[in-house]
Symmetry: C2
Subunit: 331 residues, 2 copies
């Protein structure tokens, strides 16, 4: 694998600067509310908190790479960012989170009610935006993604603390949490550009694989990473009893004694101070981090393989670098 460019999303942002300016202007315009000033306050807190705009850039890049020259990729990119922002607002309520991107969450600064209702408003604004291009297939793609996201979140909720959770369920949750919006972002960009069915399929495959690699990397970093990079403390997922891939694999390989440990700490939630170290040792014993890393790298490779079916373009190179970048944190 080539050494990845350091920050490919920054290179993309430079190349797409004009489009991104238009996306940001549209977001600011559409998050306004004539009647309820609470809405733009809450939205701005999140939208202007310096997110990397990866998802809208995926739409812009897919459309531009496939030769699109119209105005509507901007609407679709803003739609994708609104859906993302709405899910973040609701996620923080559901997870009772106090921090996001290093700042207090909206549910902490305002309240859960505001987060629920402003999230609903942004979902509705997203749908209004995506109707404007008048492209029915794009509407299907994005409303399907919204359903997959919500389904994945419910699945995560009900699978939580269940040590029988399978890799299949994990993958479904990951598609809901991350990959569904990535793949809808790229696929919608291809559709609006009237790309060929093969190209659109490749764009979907790229977004799906990139999203999975990205989320697996995130889940791994929770066990390996430093807080500065992830904004989370090592072991947060263990303490919150979240069944991510490393844990699922360690549990699948567990002997009876280990299984009793997981039942106590994850299912029953009875954890003592030493348990994180024990958990980490069990993960190492079964090479659960190493094997998850290999799986994540495999998804990054799949993402790059899909790009070979797409036009030769500087953005294609950046998207390939992005696939390397999301797993580079694991080296």
């Amino acid at each position: 694998m080539d050494k990845p460019v350091e920050k490919p999303h920054e290179a993309m942002a430079s190349l797409l600067a004009e489009d991104l300016t238009a996306v940001n202007a549209l977001i600011r315009e559409r998050m306004a509310s004539r009647h309820a000033p609470r809405i733009p306050e809450v939205t701005a807190h999140l939208v202007e908190a310096g997110g990397k705009r990866i998802r809208p850039m995926l739409t812009l890049a897919a459309a531009r790479m496939c030769g699109y020259d119209g105005p509507y990729h901007v609407h679709l990119a803003a739609t994708v960012e609104f859906i993302h922002t709405a899910t973040l607002l609701h996620d923080d309520v559901v997870d009772e989170s106090a921090q996001r991107r290093g700042r207090p969450t909206a549910n902490l600064l305002w309240d859960n009610k505001s987060s629920v209702l402003v999230g609903d408003y942004l979902f509705a604004r997203a749908f209004q935006l995506m109707v404007e291009p008048g492209h029915l297939r794009v509407l299907e793609i994005l409303s399907d993604a919204a359903a997959t996201i919500a389904e994945g979140e419910v699945l995560q909720l009900t699978a939580a603390q269940d040590i029988k959770t399978t890799e299949d369920t994990y993958l479904q949750v990951v598609r809901g949490k991350t990959a569904a919006l990535f793949s809808a972002a790229t696929e919608a960009g291809g559709e609006i550009a009237s790309a060929t069915p093969e190209q659109i399929k490749a764009l979907y495959d790229y977004g799906d694989a990139l999203g999975i690699a990205f989320q697996m990397a995130d889940d791994l970093l929770d066990w390996m990473g430093d807080a500065a990079q992830t904004g989370k403390n090592v072991g947060d997922d263990f303490r919150e009893r979240k069944l991510t891939l490393p844990l699922i694999r360690a549990i699948a390989a567990a002997d009876d004694e280990e299984r009793a440990f997981w039942t106590r700490t994850i299912e029953k939630g009875r954890q003592t101070e030493d348990d994180l170290a024990t958990a980490r040792a069990l993960l190492d014993k079964h090479d659960a981090l190493g094997s998850t890393r290999a799986t994540a790298l495999g998804w990054a490779d799949r993402a790059k393989a899909a790009l070979t079916l797409l036009p030769d373009h500087i953005l294609n190179t950046h998207l390939s670098d992005l696939a390397d970048y999301v797993v580079a944190r694991l080296r």
Copy 2:
């Protein structure tokens, strides 16, 4: 005004029985989830709790009355019911309600998390459903309604306990809570039936006025009604410090001493046992219930006036009776 038929929505339900069966089948089909069984459990609790299906019937009636003979009014009716159900789930979280339609709420039976996420799923399913007819104007109408609903809810949240709330703000909140979905339901029915622009405008006006009359009647019954009819206890809105029209009018007419009473009980929320009786006496002093009742009856009349621009049809008669019925509770 003619004496209204006792239960016009039951007469409509008989007439539209075949369509309603199709709507219910579609709802059951689309609330399923391959991956997350929690979703149909929560949804069924609400959808099958014996709601009157007023909103989907409005869509069916509007389409049929305007001569529609295709299959898609069923999709739009199911869309409207899904949007309604999603907002109920989120409302009960925001209001911390424990009862709805005489049964424990989903947030009580499961948890707030499930209500938020299953609500999101139903919003997404609603959008998937409404894309299927491929009618762009209908998509605009329904996504605009979803935005107005969420905006109205946020407005209600931020206006709560603010005794400076105006009648304009109240009307905006009422449009968000109730009238926006009523008017979208009727307007979308007209659009799918390719009704004339005048007819579509009349359908919008009917739904809007019906929704406003309905919500005003509800707000009045909170001060007047019996719990058996409303499922609420008299004075709940006072105890929850909700600024509905009777209160807004009593406060607008208050002298200094009365204003001090409202500031203490509504703004500061310091209520004693006798305060409800005092509040009621102040409402009576300024005829706030009587004048609100007159305003509600005026909106019911506007709803009926709009119907004169629509085809002569048995459903037209039922819709007219429905407008009388929603305010008949106030006689």
